[in-house]
């Protein structure tokens, strides 16, 4: 190796433009609320917002991965419903009442295994059978929620099971457990994307699939891997929602979550054509969307208007993405 490389070091970019814009927006929202919204600067408010944003953010992290690899996953909401419906069925079964620890463990294992199978199913259709991601995941989008409703006979299942509910209502260092879980999962996925060959492969795949294949990237396995991770994260989010409500409603759990997750990913800087995986961007995107919604509601503006505002945020985010590309 030559001692004097031709290259000069470019400053390491820690925060890119999209991330910076996002943080600025967040700051503006925060300052605005501190001044205008009553009781904003209270632990209670913070907790409410964190517990609501965590599920969107966790699903958005998975969605970001799938989008980065050039795909899309419409089935996340249905996977949430399925996983959320299975867990109470397990821990409330009569045979497990003697040992709550085992019951909760099994509930997680069964629910997440189901999510994993959903991911395998999506991934297999897309990689081996070459089905378009939007069509392939539409299958579970429709049938997943159906299966969940069949399992629960279409009933709302209520329960009182503190050992399970801790992931939705528990606190750690005065903040909701799911907030910490969200940060932990984001960090873990970030690590996977930036450090492992899988992460590199998935970006290469999203950037140019043919070139990736010709460079020996195990294209099928990487695709399946992204859908499995996405489904698992959706499964976790489904469990959190059930835990928050102490009830599982297969008809409502995760409803429209796919759109929220895609929106958060896009606001966070994911390019729909693939090749970029801003994991913390997705978390930031979810927080911005949540905070805008909260700001409007807390200031007496109706839910319907909040929906329009959400659409507005997406438009602005896409606009910025385009202008950055220039």
């Amino acid at each position: 190796m030559s001692a004097t490389p031709v290259t000069t070091a470019r400053p390491k970019v820690l925060i890119d433009t999209t991330m910076r814009n996002g943080l600025i927006v967040l700051l503006i929202l925060f300052v605005f609320n501190s001044l205008m919204t009553p009781n904003f600067l209270q632990m209670q408010t913070l907790s409410v917002n964190i517990s609501q944003v965590a599920t969107i953010a966790i699903v958005a992290i998975g969605m970001t991965l799938v989008i980065a690899a050039g795909g899309i996953d419409l089935s996340v909401g249905a996977v949430m419903a399925l996983s959320g419906a299975l867990a109470p069925l397990v821990f409330m079964s009569d045979s497990l009442q003697a040992s709550p620890v085992l019951a909760v463990f099994l509930a997680f294992a069964v629910a997440l295994s189901a999510a994993l199978l959903c991911g395998l199913f999506n991934g297999y259709l897309i990689s081996h059978l070459g089905v378009q991601p939007i069509i392939a995941t539409l299958i579970l989008f429709i049938s997943g929620r159906g299966i969940a409703q069949v399992l629960t006979n279409g009933n709302l299942q209520t329960f009182d099971y503190p050992a399970f509910s801790v992931i939705g209502t528990g606190k750690f260092l005065a903040l909701p457990v799911q907030g910490w879980l969200m940060l932990f999962l984001a960090a873990a996925v970030y690590w996977v994307v930036s450090k492992t060959p899988f992460g590199r492969y998935l970006l290469a795949l999203g950037g140019n699939e043919k070139a990736a294949l010709l460079s020996g990237v195990p294209v099928h396995r990487v695709k399946i891997g992204t859908y499995v991770i996405c489904s698992l994260l959706a499964g976790i989010a489904g469990l959190i929602v059930v835990a928050i409500n102490s009830a599982s409603d297969a008809a409502r759990n995760g409803e429209l979550m796919e759109l929220d997750a895609i929106a958060a990913a896009v606001v966070g800087g994911a390019l729909l054509q693939g090749g970029r995986a801003p994991i913390f961007g997705a978390v930031l995107g979810a927080i911005i969307i949540q905070l805008v919604k909260y700001t409007l509601l807390a200031n007496g503006i109706e839910d319907e208007v909040a929906l329009i505002a959400k659409a507005g945020i997406i438009v602005v985010a896409v606009y910025f993405q385009q202008s950055v590309k220039e």
């Binding site: 031709v6 470019r10 290469a204 950037g207 140019n208 070139a211 010709l214 460079s215």
Partner: protein, 501 residues
């Protein structure tokens, strides 16, 4: 264009470029890859915004802010990669965005078809303009692109490497069209790496080097050597004394047989092919477009399944394999189309170069960043890749430098066999010599090479053995010394005489 300047993320791409094109003139623009030709064209056509300088059309300063404005100013471009819509009809492609209207809103299709036909007839092309564009050959598609320019009343038509995918006859048709444009008073800015072409159609030439315009010459009074010298910034005499290519065949010492191919077929394109590549040997594949050359490379790399025949690797029979397994054996495949099958545009030079060696530099779960950097920096300096930094996105590099990164990707796997499909296409002369020298260097260390090239000179001078293909059959094997362009041409053109069934 006067004193045009442009830089990307602090790297100066163009510093002080002047370019004058007279009405009715065919003006050539040449320079090495990275000299700034593409950037200049993109400024002229409104794709990029210039940092400084001005563009004058008919003596008036024009502000070209978008490709549409450029078209409206009379500047039309035929890009290297055709930007037409393959699935739509020829007519639609010619008038896209400027359709004749009836009652102000409906497209007047009969008139559109008539107009399209008329424009094409002027070029001596008589085709059904209602058919989808991609049902015609590349040459016709190119003419359609030119027809589109003409139908927009272009004053200046920019042609970027227009002949790179045409055969000789088609090139003649194109030249006739260019001469026709010239007669009609339309100016042509002609960008090409093939210097011979310039003498056939161009009047004057502007030579660019390192983001500057260094010379303007009358083409008729300038020798080839002078042009090359100007492009490289060297002395003409020095070049004349050197060989035309850095390849010098025939001196290689052949090693053990690396790959033995017998009677393989993968489909209609490749029906019966035999070849043996030894370590330290360059085997060239000669043949026309579509004769099955690329398919040989695809078969050896495990991309297409063999329907017949067998492969032996280092004496052992190989069963079906995948690209990843081929790479593990030490086979690298530099593809013909670097944009669609080579680079991952959004990733950095580092990530592109190390893509094929990730399994080898992974420790536990993680990529060993330190080792990755060392390998990448080694190849960046060894191959002379011009990049601001190894973390620069590869899409910002010039074509020649992208090609070197891709070559680096395969050299990094410590290859035993390299499949090189048009390794120097679309690459300027300087980079071409460098790439050829690098390949020769690796061959002398015992690497086997399968070289596919449409440039006969490259095959004749570079390859130790040339296997000639006709319609998916290997028909002849020529070995150096003794191969000349005439011998090769004859072998390619002559009807196959029972050499292969």
């Amino acid at each position: 264009m006067r004193n045009i300047q442009k830089s990307f993320s602090g790297v100066v791409a163009l510093g002080a470029v002047d370019l004058d094109v007279l009405p009715g003139e065919v003006h050539a623009l040449i320079g090495q890859n990275g000299a700034g030709k593409s950037t200049l064209i993109k400024i002229l056509t409104g794709v990029y915004k210039r940092d400084d300088g001005e563009v004058l059309i008919d003596g008036e300063v024009s502000i070209i802010g978008s490709p549409r404005e450029a078209q409206d100013c009379g500047v039309a471009t035929i890009y290297q990669e055709l930007n037409l819509v393959g699935l739509r009809s020829v007519t639609e492609n010619i008038c896209l965005g400027y359709e004749p209207r009836r009652f102000g809103c409906f497209v007047d299709w009969p008139k559109a078809h008539r107009d399209a036909r008329e424009v094409l007839m002027r070029f001596g092309v008589d085709i059904d303009v209602r058919e989808p564009l991609n049902s015609y050959s590349t040459a016709i598609q190119q003419l359609v692109a030119i027809a589109r320019a003409v139908s927009l009343d272009a004053k200046l038509v920019i042609m970027d490497e227009p002949t790179s995918s045409l055969d000789e006859q088609e090139v003649e048709v194109l030249f006739a069209v260019i001469r026709g444009l010239k007669r009609d008073g339309v100016s042509v800015l002609y960008v090409s790496h093939f210097l011979e072409e310039l003498y056939q159609v161009c009047d004057r030439v502007t030579i660019m080097r390192d983001g500057r315009s260094v010379a303007v010459r009358e083409i008729a009074h300038t020798s080839r050597i002078e042009l090359i010298a100007e492009m490289l910034g060297r002395d003409p005499g020095e070049i004349e004394s050197a060989g035309m290519t850095e390849f010098s065949a025939g001196e290689a010492v052949k090693g053990e047989p690396l790959v033995e191919v017998s009677g393989i077929a993968t489909g209609r394109q490749l029906q019966n092919f035999d070849m043996t590549v030894h370590a330290g040997e360059i085997v060239g594949l000669g043949g026309l477009l579509g004769s099955g050359r690329t398919e040989v490379a695809r078969a050896l790399f495990g991309l297409d399944r063999l329907s017949k025949g067998g492969l032996k690797w280092c004496g052992e029979e190989l069963k079906s394999m995948k690209p990843a397994e081929a790479i593990a054996l030490g086979i690298g495949y530099l593809t013909e189309d670097r944009k669609s099958e080579g680079i991952v545009p959004g990733l950095s030079v580092r990530e592109n170069l190390s893509l094929a060696i990730l399994p080898r530099i992974t420790k536990g779960w993680c990529i060993d960043r330190q080792q990755e950097r060392e390998i990448v920096e080694h190849f960046v300096s060894a191959l002379g890749i011009k990049t601001a930094d190894i973390d620069q996105p590869i899409r910002e590099l010039s074509g020649g430098n992208q090609q070197k990164v891709l070559l680096g990707r395969w050299l990094a796997i410590s290859p035993k066999l390299l499949l090189l499909d048009e390794p120097t296409r679309g690459v300027d002369i300087g980079a071409k010599f460098e790439i050829q020298a690098i390949i020769r260097d690796y061959v002398s260390q015992g690497v086997g090479v399968v070289l596919i090239s449409s440039e006969f000179a490259e095959l004749v001078e570079g390859a130790d053995t040339v296997v000639v293909l006709q319609e998916g059959h290997s028909v002849r094997e020529l070995s150096n010394p003794g191969v000349s362009e005439d011998v090769l041409l004859k072998a390619i053109a002559e009807p196959a005489s029972g050499v292969a069934a």
